[in-house]
Symmetry: C2
Subunit: 293 residues, 2 copies
């Protein structure tokens, strides 16, 4: 049930991503590179989360489409830059050549820059039924959550933490910012667009925080137990980079116990909503904890 739901929403998101991409034509290498980077078979988890919140409130999905697409552009740019030789130096992502392997390093840097820059254009471009005040609030949140005090901050500390054991506090900072912020972002924006009450906003935010942490712990676990064919990148890269992870701090078994607890926490956060209305959110939390890619 959840799988077909996610699949139908993924298609809706991909369709809209392509509509935005179709308008970009020149310079060809940038336009093609943006398409290549973003149309990579991603799960579209972030945009889907935004749509899920809108559905919870019975809002039209159109209200959130531009922002949902914009967030995916930002997610995509972050992968393009993270894969660069100076950073993670990855050659494959989801079984395809990474952007710099395909288009060269100079173009990949600019393609990432273009994805990031264009995301803000998308948010302003078409969100017609959302007030200007809300759009400004949304843009502010996007830039804060993806900048120095968000995703970029997490990425930098992650790099600094290679080849050494770091504290749980630092590991939590990395997780909270590097992956966490961009998973919170669509949920909070969905709540803003839907005029959620303060209590509901807090509940959804807690859910997304727990979901983000679960996502990351499972990522750490998959780096040990996963299969190349499914996750589309080499196994054991954390070990190779001597990264501190949940398994390296707590061991594999304890990490799985923590993961289970965090998933329960995510579900419990939504207790203030009628249970049948948040079925998708609950199933998604379970799915995140059991995913194999």
């Amino acid at each position: 049930m959840l799988k077909s739901y996610l699949e139908s929403k993924r298609k809706l998101i991909d369709l809209n991503i392509e509509l935005y991409l179709d308008k970009l034509v020149y310079p060809k290498v940038i336009a093609e590179g943006m398409k290549y980077s973003i149309l990579n078979g991603g799960k579209r988890l972030r945009p889907i989360l935004l749509l899920m919140v809108l559905e919870l409130y019975g809002k039209k999905l159109e209200l959130g489409i531009p922002t949902a697409v914009a967030i995916e552009f930002i997610h995509s740019y972050s992968l393009v830059h993270d894969d660069l030789p100076a950073l993670d130096n990855d050659e494959y992502r989801r079984g395809k050549l990474t952007t710099h392997k395909k288009f060269g390093e100079a173009a990949a840097i600019l393609i990432g820059d273009a994805l990031l820059t264009h995301s803000f254009s998308i948010v302003t471009d078409k969100t017609k039924d959302v007030s200007y005040e809300k759009i400004v609030k949304i843009i502010s949140m996007i830039s804060r959550y993806s900048g120095i005090n968000g995703m970029i901050g997490g990425q930098m500390v992650d790099i600094e933490s290679e080849k050494k054991m770091v504290s749980l506090e630092t590991l939590e900072y990395i997780h909270r910012n590097k992956t966490g912020k961009l998973l919170k972002l669509p949920v909070e924006i969905g709540a803003i667009i839907s005029d959620a009450s303060d209590d509901e906003y807090t509940a959804l935010k807690r859910y997304s925080e727990a979901l983000g942490l679960a996502f990351q712990i499972q990522d750490d676990i998959l780096d040990i137990e996963g299969e190349f064919e499914k996750i589309g990148k080499p196994i054991g890269s954390d070990l190779e980079l001597e990264k501190t992870t949940y398994p390296s701090l707590f061991g594999l078994i304890e990490s799985k116990t923590i993961l289970a607890k965090v998933i329960e926490e995510a579900k419990r956060s939504l207790d203030i909503f009628e249970k049948e209305k948040v079925q998708n959110f609950i199933q998604l939390a379970d799915y995140i904890g059991n995913r194999d890619n």
Copy 2:
């Protein structure tokens, strides 16, 4: 007279840039790197242009400060990324080590990303007396002018045009986008904030387009005739990269004639304004054409 005007405005801009930078503390390398990259003794021409338009309309400068600072953040990010080994591979800028030489390549990529991302946060953060509708319009313009259809597009075509002779049309595309768009941007935004009439808007836009072109032609000329001590980077880099420039297409003497014409055009665009009110703009056009750095 112009010099002291520019100097006082530069100080105002620098003060405000520092106020924004002071709020950024962690991760240290990103915060320090952003400071290092943006506080590089730049002329702040773009932010000053925005303030000049506000003054022309008797508006409070505070109305434009956040956007002016944001544009300088974007200008600074573009320099950080352009200097990277995969792109221009420059070691010095304004006589100081480039960001990647100082902080390493991985950090420099992220520092550039952080400058770009944070610029949007600045625009939304504090422009209290500008309507939300205008802020959205401003953000849209910033992202369009600095993205694939603006600065990044120009930069990509510039790279593609190395080691070959390109047409005047391509050269004009590069100039119009790589440097031109970011010089138009503050002028147009100033006109939006000031509620300029359509005619005035067009006049100011033409001025900024001519100014941008003059700036670039003079840049090409300085790459041949300039002095390292003044421009802070090696002379002759265009020749070395076999770049098409105004001098390579038209020769040095004809390029200077074109430059003089473009500067006249810039000044003439402002004929609809009372002459005494646009003295600074006129002097600035002359200054751009005669600058030695």
